[in-house]
């Protein structure tokens, strides 16, 4: 049967924006970021000032989302926490992704003993739950936001390494890579033209989804008191504060939870959609008849 050829991949941005899931994720993420950035700049409330006379209040015109047990403005804290939690989570995953994919690329490209050693280390790391590794790292380095970010980075490393490695292995036996080798394509050009662009497309979705996960793990560490330290506002820290009074003033815990949920959901939608579109780019077969 003859079907018109799929839309050409030359307009990649256009194709991405046409994908419903990608679009939904983007719109949602933009909204979350806009609320966080503009809100924290415009809203006059201070996230750390305590108001001992106004503790655990419900919503009012003065405190739109009420106050916590130290009388701090919940809205101000939620907005400022976003400014901290989102960039920290992204930073952590970016670091882990860079290290992980480099390791994976090296393992896949060099092969042999290097590959065996790297792969076994990656296997060991993957066999522990991410949170456990993060806890271990923080336990060693001491509880503060820097070590929490480092911990989350380390949890993100093995998954990126594994995907990068397997993609390179697949590519190495691809006919077009062999054809390029026969045409005397040197290693740097080979990496630049054939390997890296394809590895990048395979990594982008797990990188994006990893960011959502990074934000959650970071919040979990803060929630346990070993991540971002109070009085700084962070969604995890806020949850710790909020759970104590969840029966009387649920907004204290609910506000950061909703923001986190919205952020992670939008990132996941985006990642999932990207994965779908990018795999479409990688498809080579032609749907039409001769």
């Amino acid at each position: 049967m003859t079907i018109t050829a799929p839309a050409p991949p030359r307009d990649r941005i256009g194709q991405l924006l046409h994908h419903r899931t990608v679009l939904a994720g983007l719109v949602m993420l933009t909204a979350v970021l806009a609320v966080t950035i503009i809100g924290s700049a415009v809203y006059p409330g201070d996230p750390v000032t305590t108001h001992p006379l106004n503790i655990l209040q419900g919503p009012s015109s003065e405190y739109p989302l009420g106050t916590d047990q130290l009388g701090r403005d919940v809205l101000a804290r939620v907005l400022h926490a976003g400014l901290l939690s989102i960039p920290l989570g992204m930073m952590a995953i970016t670091g882990g992704a860079i290290v992980g994919s480099t390791i994976g690329l090296i393992a896949g490209f060099l092969g042999g003993v290097t590959d065996t050693i790297i792969s076994r280390i990656v296997d060991v790391l993957l066999s522990f739950p991410g949170l456990l590794i993060a806890l271990l790292v923080v336990a060693i380095l001491g509880p503060d936001s820097t070590s929490a970010v480092l911990a989350v980075s380390i949890t993100a490393t093995p998954s990126h390494a594994r995907v990068a490695r397997s993609t390179v292995l697949n590519l190495r036996s691809a006919s077009y890579v062999e054809a390029a080798r026969v045409s005397n394509t040197r290693t740097p050009a080979m990496l630049r033209r054939h390997i890296l662009p394809n590895v990048r497309d395979a990594l982008i979705p797990i990188f994006v989804i990893g960011m959502g996960n990074g934000i959650i793990v970071l919040a979990a560490l803060s929630f346990l008191g070993i991540g971002v330290q109070p009085p700084a506002a962070d969604w995890g820290v806020m949850l710790t504060d909020g759970v104590r009074s969840i029966r009387t003033t649920p907004l204290v815990a609910l506000a950061p939870a909703v923001m986190m949920y919205a952020t992670v959901l939008s990132i996941n939608l985006l990642g999932e959609g990207l994965g779908e579109v990018l795999s479409r780019f990688r498809r080579t077969s032609y749907l039409g008849a001769e």
Binding site: M1, A5, E178, R283, Y286
Partner: protein, 683 residues
Amino acid sequence: MTPPLLQVTDMSVTYTTPHGSVQAVDGVSLSVDNGEAVGIVGESGSGKSTVAHAILKLLPRSAQQDGRIMLQGAELSAMSDREMADIRGDKAGMVFQDPMTSFDPQRTIGYHLREALEAHRSEMTRAERQRVVVEQLRRTGLPEPEYQSNRYPHELSGGMRQRSMLALALENSPALLLADEPTTALDVTIQAQILRLFTDLLEDEGLGAAMILISHDLAVVRQVCSRILVMYAGRIVEDAPTEELFAEPRHPYTQALIRATPRAKTGGGRLATIPGRPPSLTGARTACSFRDRCAHAFDRCFEEDPQLLSTGGPRAVACFLGAESPLPPLSAEATHEEDARRDEGGPTEDEPMVVVVNDVTMTFHTQSTRSWTFRKQALHALRNVSVQVARGETLGIVGESGSGKSTMARIVLGLQAPTSGTVLVAGENPRKRRSKARTEQRLQAVFQDPHGSLNPRMTVQDAVAEPLKNLGMSSQNRDARVVELLDEVQLGRSYASRYPSELSGGQAQRVAIARALAAEPDVIVLDEPTSGLDISIQAHILNLLGDLQARHRLTYILISHDLTIVQHLADRIAVMHLGQIVEMAATAETFLAPAHPYTAGLLAAVPEIDGPGKPQPLVVGEPPSPLNPPSGCSFHTRCPIARELCQEVDPPLQPYRGGLVACHFAGEIAASSSRTEGRTEAS
């Protein structure tokens, strides 16, 4: 007159896609009588598979299916899914192309067969079922059926799986057997065995089942079927008894398709091709869908859509011209270029050897899957292989899967280092970074999967320019050269900005050929360059390769499982079996008088398009495992003339009548094969 077994009336199948609705099958009517074997032939996209699936209502939900289907008086088209489940596997059996995907990998072969009995013969006891299963497997020629029925699909070879599939399809004695490309994935010797099995089971054993055999290969269908339906663009364009169809095709498409099929036994030369490509199946039909590719088209073909009409007797054709009278013959289209190439008759004696492979052995070490120890098993992919190829020559390498021919290609290309032995291309080891084979790109390759050999993210321009870039050519010169190369492979320059996903298989293979030509190489290794392409497209590519060789004095090493293709291009043929060359001789010699029984077996197994006759499975059984090759001559387990000596002594490759043969009894088989003799006399 009794009503036909199967009657399909006005079947249409429409797919709804994001790009509009596609009419995959458009008003097909056909009937099959009891015990009749009908072939459906067409190229990819013709709708032949869709028809088969639609008959048993196996199409995905996205397909809209219309029309009436009557099987033995029951109207399938009106049945529910549950009622259809009772029909499938009982009144109608199916065999598909790849039996691996038709079996559940978690279940044994016997389980599948017992399950089908359980579903339709619930009154049988367990012991009875097992007995029937073994009986069925024995009938389809599976060796040691009791033992094999307890094995899992992946433990069986492709041929054995297809035999089991056939046993499964036939065990409830269906009235109709649907076989969709049942031998396409198999080696030619196994294909001959399976086709023979079909004819034996259907005709000789009086099974009484009718069969619909779907294939892209006219020769395969000719072996088995008594009537052939030719499909084009979702319609049946010709319906005729087999012999009449071949003797006098009435539809121009049938005529062109028969001409475009390469023949193993009638010499090389230029193949007829079909210009253009099949039409899009979207939108309404207002004219003949073959008009733009037809050699005989006239005014009416552009104005009116011809219907399938009887020409009197048992034939029908959808062509204004063919309905009236036999078609005029197609004009010969051999070019001077081609004639010149043939006249030269390959390289002359004093040409230098451009590729020298000397005593190459390749051993892979694989982890044994059956053993608890970590001991590795040695797989001998190549054993003491030596070949030399002269400048301007085409060496064809043929063999079944697992014969080592692809390993050979990789070693010549320098993609893999041999375990021992040497490879010289233009006097140097191609694996050496400074060798001319690499720096000047004297050596190039065209691979099997045309889409897989193009980076999906690179435009045609970038792909073809890559070798030039590596040579350090300026971007201006590169652009000019790419245009030149695209012209040379008969793709317009408008293709330069396309991506691989916008190319058909044939177009992608042209791009791969253009890329291989870019740096003006001496040697091109062609690894299965046309497998996976339709016959008319294959003809284009083969002609193109022939022309290019004549124009640029190229040396080809052509690797293929398909003898007919090798025949068309090769000056000399090396036949490989289990990592060894068993015969090497000039093409004409090899085809007229094969000296090695394996060569004779391969030749006899190729289905003949030019004459009736049953497939000849001269070579029996499956290829032995390269992990554990037989003692002595590695072919003795399958050889029709093997004797005691063959089990003990491995015959060396020695001169025989101008070629080289590794057989103790070289030439014996040629004299004993009547088909071979007939061929010799005919030519």
